[in-house]
Amino acid sequence: MTKKKATIYEEIRAKGHSRRDFLKFCTTMSVMLGLETSGVTQITKALEKKHRIPVIWMHFQECTCCSESFIRSSHPIVADIVLDKISLDYTETLMAASGHQAEKSLHDTMEKYHGEYLLMVEGSIPAKDEAFCCIGGRSALEILKEVSEGAKAIIAWGNCASSGCVQAASPNPTGAQPVHKVIKGKPIINVQGCPPIAEVMAGVVVHLLAFERIPQLDSLGRPKAFYSRRVHDTCYRRPNYDAGLFVESFDDENAKRGYCLYKMGCRGPNTYNSCGVIKWNNGVSYPIQSGHPCIGCSEANFWDNGPFYQHLQSFPGFGIETTADKIGVGLGIATGAGIAAHAISTNIRKRKMLQKGLKENKTENK
């Protein structure tokens, strides 16, 4: 029973999409990836020739919002291509198989495609007490180590897998760790965000499919095509920032006028993501457009860098409302008091010395 392996394009056609849809998809993806016009041809050709990549998608400590985001991608082929066609050989949430069957499917894929399959990880891994996350009687850490061994590359979906997200927030009871902290020696792509934008997720997958190499990454392992610019730099409210026009409270006139949310704690100036360009839910809006400051969900430790609605972080070790400025002013006052005390003490303690100089001289002058 030898059947010729279908290419991705053939599988897409078989799924009922027209060639026109396919080309639209290739064009959209090359635009998302920031490629030049010739990139469209490259992607089209690649998808026409290449076969599906086996994918294992692991879920650990997470809320499945990355998967949710992914299936809401603006282009229907995106969901098809990955969920059906690039084909998830194993994923806890969406696969039909369960129990021993599921475990078998996982092991079959790992053996059959050793060194070829793509590992996608959603969620953080408890490293302190492994019992916090167990699947099929084995800990997340154990599973991840085994599965990543034969993976071609690892995609860490979302903030959980990239930097620990809320589970790793202080005091991090489970000792949650991102993928790159527990797995070494494999190419890891951190697709940041809580969740990442669907088109960004699709873009990364298509890049891997079409070019068979990992996209260019920034210093934190995020694909540069999507994470090289700050939300602030692509924000449509940016002119208000430069003009010094800020929202002072959520119910003021300035909020109505759509001024900059900087003083409401907006993390746009510190957050690298494509929200301002690609936007969410098929390009409908993004948090700032909806009047809410960015919370910086594509940055590490964003839960601990709070409070969210305050521009300055609270100073570590003090109350959450205490910023560096309050402590600075306090120290300034203390310093001023110290100076005053020292000046008074100088005039008392060194009085003799100061007067001696004058006296000596007076006697000399006589």
């Binding site: 210093s219 100036p269 600075g328 100076i339």
Partner: protein, 230 residues
Amino acid sequence: METVKQKTIKEVYVWELPVRFYHWINALCIVVLSVTGYLIGRPPALQSAAEASFSYWFGWIRFIHFVAAFVFFFNFVLRTYWGFVGNKYAQWYNFIPLKKSQWEELFNVLKVDILQLTTKSIPSIGHNMLAGFTYFFTFLAFLLQSLTGFGLYAAMSDSWFPKLFSWIVPLLGGDLPARNFHHILMWFFIIFAMIHIYLVFYHDYIERNGLTSSMIGGWKFVKQDEDDKE
């Protein structure tokens, strides 16, 4: 009129021109950077119905901050160079206590000037050791402030120069922690400036050696017998 006739007093050229220029450019930069930096961190609330296209004041504040940062950094680089080619009062070893005698002087200054346990004054022509060592920490602060500042600036610049510093940001865990670090360090400069200015007044008052004006003209008054100790 009270006059003091010091037979044995002598004038010493302590601060060379580059040192004096460095000092005042640095002082000006720190004032400008602190004021603009504070405004960037905490812009005042202006209630107006203006459209953004009519004004750019916050952009200008940031522009001034960035320009002053470049001046500040290269001024600091020149001073570091002068620490190797300048006169003996400007040399690098004035700032790092490596010898035992330097540590002794440091504790001596602490005892006499800060804790005021004795009433004598300590002879030193250039920086006293405690001051010198404190400046060493300000140099570290300059460095850290430049690293974090340019590191943050790199994201909005195409120039190669700030890019040299971009590695510091992931090291601190991202833009927000880097920014916070940059902001906290500003308070070090403010508090340093308060103490620094006070102590200049204090020494001038106690020792009457023209310390304040020496940073303008370069000359200090030194009692003859103190001069040859080094």
